[in-house]
Subunit: 339 residues, 2 copies
């Protein structure tokens, strides 16, 4: 028994697995997350805005702080809820004054968003540091002018002292610094799953049915866009005008070349409704719709079900997040404005 266990460990650590599906997946561009937390941290880190414990802790507070919105009621976590797969679960994001996203755009998940090659549905932002500046200011989202947020944070002594701890005593807490700090936290929101263990050689970690689904996922061509660590995250042409079933909902057309950011499939079970306009609630229907719209094939009910079985194996382990106690406002802190 002990010997068998030892052998299994050795295989899972590094030996070449016998399962040809692993090679097929790797050849198709699918990549597992590294095995250890330290390796994952290394992968998501960046020289421009290096991850430190103090920055991540502070970034978490800012992420959960609704005072980063004009009203004082909407935080990053409102639309990218870490309890709900990193999304809000509604078709189009709802922001300040209950305004729906004017393009009927669905909130993408923040989990594993560090692996997106570009941020936002139209890929207009290169990284999370840049992305985090957007929703805070956008009128239909958090609706806060930069100066309001910079003023609020600087009016709260405990925040000031935590910025000093994170960046040194001469830190200037400007809008960029606030967004950078949030991004540092977001970089850590990575969710390894059984799928990663499988791709790393632990063949037993996906069931036979899940493996069948993965094979179909590759064979049908899904992995031609949904590849890499995120199973997505790149830019691809997406014809929002012609083939897509709900083309009449919202006016989103992608970037100037009609390219749309491919959503990650990690935790996809938790992030309905699907597509840029959140019009499809069923994962099976989403798979079939992608067959029609992107691959010009009909994916049968049976095959779609198998692919869905595989997709559910992408639901990953969420990081442990201690809900923060936010530093209290002072009399100098700009009041919430719900108007």
């Amino acid at each position: 028994m002990k010997k068998a266990f030892l052998l299994a460990s050795i295989i899972s650590v590094g030996a070449v697995a016998n399962n040809p599906l692993i090679k097929q997946a790797t050849d198709a561009g699918l990549k597992p997350l590294p095995k250890s937390e330290a390796e994952i941290l290394k992968l998501v880190d960046n020289t421009k805005n290096p991850i430190t414990k103090a920055k991540v802790e502070l970034g978490k507070k800012l992420y959960f702080d609704p005072r980063l919105s004009k009203s004082g009621l909407i935080s990053c976590n409102t639309c990218h809820n870490l309890a709900l797969g990193g999304v809000d679960g509604v078709e189009a994001a709802i922001g300040h004054k209950w305004t729906a996203n004017p393009h009927h755009l669905n909130s993408p998940t923040v989990y594993n968003s560090v692996f997106n090659q570009r941020q936002f549905w139209d890929g207009r932002s290169p990284d999370l540091e840049d992305q985090a500046q957007g929703p805070i200011q956008a009128a239909p989202e958090m609706a806060a002018p930069k100066e309001l947020i910079v003023g609020r944070i600087n009016s709260i002594p405990q925040y000031v002292s935590e910025f000093k701890e994170a960046y040194g005593k001469d830190v200037k807490i400007d809008f960029k610094k606030i967004a950078d700090t949030i991004a540092t936290f977001e970089r850590t929101l990575v969710t390894p799953s059984r799928y990663d263990a499988f791709l790393s050689g632990d063949e037993k970690s996906l069931t036979k049915e899940e493996q069948e689904g993965l094979k179909l996922f590759i064979d049908k061509g899904c992995a031609s866009c949904h590849n890499g660590v995120a199973l997505g995250g790149g830019m691809q042409p997406f014809d929002t005008n012609k083939k897509y079933k709900y083309k009449n909902v919202g006016d989103f057309k992608g970037d100037k070349n009609g390219m749309v950011r491919v959503p990650t499939l990690r935790n996809i079970e938790e992030t309905a409704p699907y597509f840029h306009n959140g019009k499809i609630w069923s994962l099976k229907e989403a798979v079939q719709e992608m067959g029609t719209t992107q691959l010009s094939i009909k994916i049968s009910e049976k095959d779609a079900n198998k692919i869905v079985t595989f997709l559910k194996s992408l639901t990953g382990k969420k990081p442990n997040i201690q809900y923060p106690t936010l530093p209290p406002s002072t009399e100098k802190t700009a009041k919430p404005d719900i108007k």
Copy 2:
């Protein structure tokens, strides 16, 4: 050094303290929280809806779950934010479709709310189990018919299995059971502070200035309403018509006898704005306003500042709350309705 430490420990554990302020406070009806977590749990428990670990964990999930609202966007935590002293930090609660509370009522803190003798500003509810049923259904709050919520929870297999774990396999998940479970979690939201250590005999745990403030707090008469474990929580006459500075904001008049629930003063530093209609943002102004309105005395700037210094010592240690991962909806789960 070691001997001195030992002596201090003995004094703090049980010996009669020399400080006459402790006796004065006790005589004025002020009561500390018990010292140990186990004793606190015993104090907040009740035979009707006993606390268990499984219920508290499940209750926490429900507390954070926005799918308990019609829109799928508002959770208990939206207005009673555990990161912000258990409140939302705005004057009047904002709910479904960005509706302000029609009576311009301010969200009371959920921390230590178990010690309120009655719930809601007009005390219309006897306990948290009953209270938790209100906001979920109220049209300007979470706006959800009972049946919608009961249906949603029952459509999510992981919730069903957690209810079974908490209540046994024959549990019927009805609206009362859902509210009871939330209340169980809320009962545990107790925040001991240095003030409790002081009242329990550890004289060093409040500074000289804080003790001066506490003495003034009692001498001026504040403790005649703000007493007991919560420094508040009972019902008192409050003349919303005549003396109160912002009497013209909102139409709240208390219960049928003009009685209003006295807010707890624990964590008061974190729960601005103050009063039933959230019109006063400065704690010092709130103290002075209470002098005028309730005690018919003028509290000087200097005395008010001292009382505020004491009040800040009531900011307590928050329970460790692991932010939950909520069970995913299924295709049977009723969709969010933002209309």
